[in-house]
Subunit: 152 residues, 4 copies
């Protein structure tokens, strides 16, 4: 079955849904870019996000990458659809020292029910091109339609 027709308001819809996630405000995550099938989020290293060695906690990286992946899939969904993470896997490649972190997610496969999204977390300094890959994620995302809640 084909994908639903593209929603011309995908960017506004995505930014509004993201703004409705208090967890992202708690982590200081903001939207850097929204395109069809692609979302980039940004976060700064802050002490309250760290683990016992002063690096950003793997779980905090996972939270930001999960949101990036879910919203990348959401950009391709029809208006009125809901987005649900079924599962994700993250590999931690290097300590996340910051000072800035960037979470880039792109849809690898958009399906009618199931989408697969790959995400990458980079650390970099302000105003510099050089950056380092600190984590990769693959997330399986479900499109939820026609139900009042989001149970699967």
């Amino acid at each position: 079955m084909p994908l639903p027709p593209h929603d011309p308001d995908y960017a506004q819809r995505t930014r509004e849904s993201f703004a409705g996630q208090p967890a992202m405000a708690t982590l200081g995550v903001s939207v850097a870019e929204v395109a069809p099938g692609r979302v980039v989020l940004a976060m700064a290293h802050r002490a309250e996000l760290t683990q016992q060695h002063g690096f950003v906690h793997a779980g905090m990286l996972a939270a930001a990458l999960d949101s990036a992946c879910g919203y990348a899939a959401y950009t391709l969904m029809a208006a009125g659809a809901g987005v649900l993470t079924i599962e994700f896997k993250i590999n931690l490649l290097a300590p996340a020292r910051g000072p800035l972190l960037r979470f880039e997610a792109e849809v690898t496969k958009a399906g009618r029910t199931i989408s697969v999204v790959d995400g990458r977390a980079f650390q970099h300094e302000s105003g510099r091109d050089e950056r380092k890959l600190v984590a990769t994620m693959t997330a399986t995302i479900m499109t939820v339609t026609g139900r009042d809640d989001v149970r699967h």
Copy 2:
């Protein structure tokens, strides 16, 4: 090669390292139980941890489960060793409504370098036995020794 001899101070060492994770304080996560090869953490549903439907964000569940898994492995490590999450995978099974969440992690295999830990997140009400499984995690944890940093 055999595992290092058991550290009799594992519980205190684990609680101290956990206390050194500001990220866990930010999420309101506390230690409920420490035993050899097993750690249980607890968290309450709070608005600042939620996603757009009012449930605890998958990433916040992942952060707490990751800490539970890492510290479950840490209980079996020698004094002086460091703990590092290489990767984890989480499946989200039901919306995390709370009001209370419990994260139980048990070591499935303790290796000299690599340990595998399985974790489960449950939601329940205060003082009630009934509970619901909301997420499962498998984490691959590395024992770091003899190096000043925690790069792998």
Copy 3:
């Protein structure tokens, strides 16, 4: 929405579908047990299944565990439904020397569309109770209904 009513012919249906997988015959995998939400498969170590050190190849373990997980979910599906693996993750814990291997899968969550199944691979000797855990898997399985093919 509730799960469909239990199919009384689940065991025969499961065994018949399994018999229709030539890949399992190629690997020498047979059905050891079928129960609601649980399937156990068995395989013997053979030279043509091994990697460069003489142990059973991780991919061969994954193939057998994937079938065990998929069919464990299938036992709980309605007659006429199809089963599809969306994704799985496997951790390899010890070299699979055999001589016998047993793959046990149990449904952790049966959903209307998505089920999550956990599997474990053990090696043991014939007629002995002692056994060793060699691999663990978590698989996400989709129920496919009302479509002629199995695309998702």
Copy 4:
């Protein structure tokens, strides 16, 4: 700590180790390309590799992708090192109809002990450029040195 110096004989060493995997011969998998940090394997759709719908079994795809990922990491290891898959995760994106399948793996991060490799499986027809992505994998690979066996 830096990576060991590059082994000039990496390609021959990789092909020889691959040739020592009887499991790959059983599946009809051959080496298509070996480069530093990159290995491509090939396989043809055959009836004995299929599941109940006539597509290549997810486990068979996983076995070929796992070998591709492991050997991609192996190309960057020092002579004498051994390669061990710690874990992998695979997402199945489309039915693998063939007639030809190609498994491309590239090292995302080469570490002293742990490497992370991403792999993709494509199906295509002989002599045609058009191809379809059918599966993606992320594998965590361990470098084993100085031990007679490959236990971790």
